[in-house]
């Protein structure tokens, strides 16, 4: 008795050994390697890197293995590791115009300079289970295109910008950008803080909110101006050199949303922007982020705010799945002190009510009511 929720070192250790055993599963089945995860579960790896805010395919694969494929748990592992890493400085902003394109599509123009490049996409697959994958089979090898892709793929928004049809994107940030991983978010949040928050926010949460505003809870129902995915170089400027050097290459997905125009008698009508960017290949997330970036500009653009997706504090305070998952699951921790306090209060209240009911009974008032 009296040990129900109390457990010492031994209990925790046993639980963790059991967890490790279950992670390994049937020992007759070969153990997963990180190479297999990196190569064959690459979209999972991408998501873990994006929401874990750390671009490292090996560590993300390790996190997925350790978490038994629980993606949110893997994100948490990566975040907890990331937070211990020293910080050397800021990179130069990546230039997605110079991306080595693997995929680039626009929904606003049928054809455009650079062309529509489908790349690897689930979009036009029929979602039919492919039973040929049950047994390991030789997958087809894709043929190389005869034509080269443009080295500098023009952006759709720039084409609109040339005509002044879309609002200008102005670099307002001369000083060090705000960093949501080092500072507590304050409201109203700057755009860079918002974009960072959304970039590491939970994909499902962003998706649902973006969906809600498309459905009319808010009214951001934009055009997918452009989505591109591919590799970009990452540059830093070491102080002792004074010029940029490339330190690596990362895969990113970028989404530029073109939104309802805005204008007045004095300001000519213009489309507005929404921007999404994620590590790896993740269009669902990048598009949701693009929609929400725009939707959260409602206040700035003087629109009526009446839906969750327009409410900056609501969206940004609840987007992090590491925070959300921890807090929801903390209910598993013992709460018996608080519960005891509530028990004492509720019993005292019930006792008071029982007395007054009896009193009512004796004066007969209850019966009168009952007769009605």
């Amino acid at each position: 008795m009296y040990v129900a929720v109390k457990g010492g070192d031994a209990a925790i250790e046993n639980s963790q050994t059991l967890l490790a055993e279950e992670r390994r599963g049937d020992r007759r089945v070969p153990e997963l390697t990180l190479d297999q995860i990196k190569n064959q579960l690459s979209i999972s790896v991408d998501r873990v890197m994006a929401e874990g805010s750390l671009y490292d395919r090996d560590l993300a694969a390790l996190a997925i293995k350790q978490a038994r494929g629980d993606i949110v748990e893997a994100i948490f592992l990566l975040r907890a590791y990331r937070t211990t890493l020293p910080r050397f400085g800021n990179t130069h902003p990546i230039d997605t115009a110079k991306m080595q394109i693997r995929r680039r599509i626009s929904a606003t123009f049928k054809d455009l300079p650079g062309g529509q490049i489908l790349g690897p996409s689930f979009d036009y697959t029929h979602r039919l289970l492919d039973f040929s994958l049950v047994e390991n089979s030789d997958s087809p090898v894709a043929e190389e295109a005869s034509e080269n892709i443009l080295a500098e793929m023009p952006r759709v928004t720039e084409l609109l910008d040339d005509e002044g049809l879309i609002e200008k994107e102005i670099d307002v940030n001369e000083q060090e950008p705000f960093d949501v991983t080092r500072n507590s978010l304050k409201f109203p949040a700057s755009r860079e803080a918002r974009l960072q928050n959304l970039a590491r926010g939970d994909e499902g949460f962003l998706l649902a909110l973006a969906y809600s505003t498309q459905r009319g809870w808010g009214k951001t129902h934009p055009f997918a101006g452009e989505i591109r995915m591919g590799e970009v170089g990452v540059e830093i400027i070491p102080e002792e050199l004074g010029f940029p050097i490339e330190v690596g290459e990362i895969t990113v997905t970028e989404c530029q949303m073109v939104n309802q125009f805005k204008g007045s008698a004095t300001i000519p009508a213009q489309f507005t922007r929404g921007y999404g960017l994620t590590f790896g290949h993740n269009e669902r997330k990048a598009m949701s982020m693009g929609i929400l970036d725009r939707s959260l500009r409602s206040k700035e653009l003087g629109e009526a705010i009446n839906a969750p997706a327009q409410d900056e504090e609501f969206v940004l305070s609840h987007s992090c799945n590491v925070e959300a998952s921890g807090f929801v699951q903390h209910l598993k921790l013992p709460h018996y002190v608080d519960f005891q306090s509530e028990l004492v209060t509720v019993r005292a209240l019930r006792k008071a009510t029982t007395f007054s009911e009896k009193k009512e009974d004796s004066t007969g008032s209850k019966n009168v009511e009952g007769a009605e």
Partner: protein
């Protein structure tokens, strides 16, 4: 709060005892400095919630990351740490956090309240009176006492700045009008140093009076919400109430079944499926110390009746 000095002896002990590849007490020194600055500011403005750049910890948010970060940034190699959850040293989460610091900082740990220099707690204040050379670190889930009245921080920040707490009293009044008494039983709001209304974290209101004029420094860490606040030693902490409805705490007609104490917070333990139950001290160390001194409780559970509760 012991500084980590450069003494050879200490640094060699540090190396031996702490986790490979990680800094002393997990956090890197820049992070600790940032948290200490926030903590100093919090001490200087009692009850004010200081935003800080809370980090992801290897334990989940909502499980004490705020308290852990505060403890990690103030702990030194000479400190002795006690960790409790629900008043007890042996609950799983308390064990786990104590293991975390034993692993990453290699410090001494204790269950004895009076031997600890730092006490990290969730949901309780120990029964034993804390002393001026001790620090108590509370784990805080929701630092904003006005959250249930106004969820927007843009608004609550203004309300705090203007000491505009009328709504809190209206809430209490409505509660009294409805139930005849204030029904908030834990996380009962307090006003610190006649200014900031503060969440005491979800301690039972039974513990609220212990915060008033406490000789020990009280630090509060909310990791997920990225806030630190503090009550300096010997500071006035008043639970909100009305003149004609003064603040009151829970009481039991039972005493502890194990040590016989009738002045401590009691947990109810259900012992069978027929309504038998017993009451035991929630503060396991307090109870053990009393039993060691020869105090004894009635022991066996008995049939529970509603008249037992006042």
């Amino acid at each position: 709060m012991t500084a980590i000095s450069g003494e050879q002896k200490k640094s060699s002990r540090l190396k031996e005892k702490t986790l490979d590849g990680y800094n002393f007490a997990y956090l890197d020194d820049q992070t600790k400095r940032m948290i200490r600055r926030a903590t100093l500011k919090a001490v200087a403005i009692p009850g004010y919630q200081v935003p800080f750049g809370s980090r992801e910890m290897p334990l989940p948010f909502g499980w004490g990351t705020g308290g852990i970060q505060v403890t990690a940034s103030i702990i030194g190699i000479d400190d002795t740490l006690k960790v409790i959850d629900q008043g007890a040293d042996d609950t799983t989460n308390a064990v786990n956090i104590r293991r975390f610091f034993a692993k990453t900082a290699g410090v001494e740990t204790t269950e004895n309240t009076s031997d600890a220099s730092i006490i990290q707690t969730r949901h309780r204040i120990p029964e034993a009176k804390l002393k001026s050379d001790q620090i108590i670190v509370y784990q805080v889930p929701i630092p904003e006492p006005l959250r249930w009245i106004e969820p927007r921080e843009e608004e609550t920040r203004k309300m705090h700045a203007l000491t505009e707490y009328g709504v809190m009293h209206v809430g209490l009044y409505e509660n009294i009008a409805h139930f005849g008494k204030v029904t908030t039983s834990y996380n009962y709001p307090v006003q610190v140093n006649d200014h900031y209304v503060m969440s005491p974290s979800p301690i039972p209101k039974f513990d609220n009076p212990k915060m008033d004029e406490m000789p020990a420094l009280q630090l509060f860490g909310a990791g997920r919400e990225k806030r630190i606040y503090a009550v300096p030693p010997y500071t006035k902490v008043k639970s909100l109430d009305f003149e004609d409805h003064p603040f009151e705490i829970e009481s039991w007609s039972e005493c502890c079944a194990l040590c016989g104490s009738s002045s401590s917070f009691l947990d109810e333990v259900i012992t069978d499926d027929k309504g038998s139950r017993m009451f035991v001290c929630s503060d396991s160390n307090f109870c053990a110390n009393r039993r060691a001194k020869g105090h004894k409780g009635p022991g066996l559970p008995r049939k529970f009746e509603i008249k037992d509760i006042e």
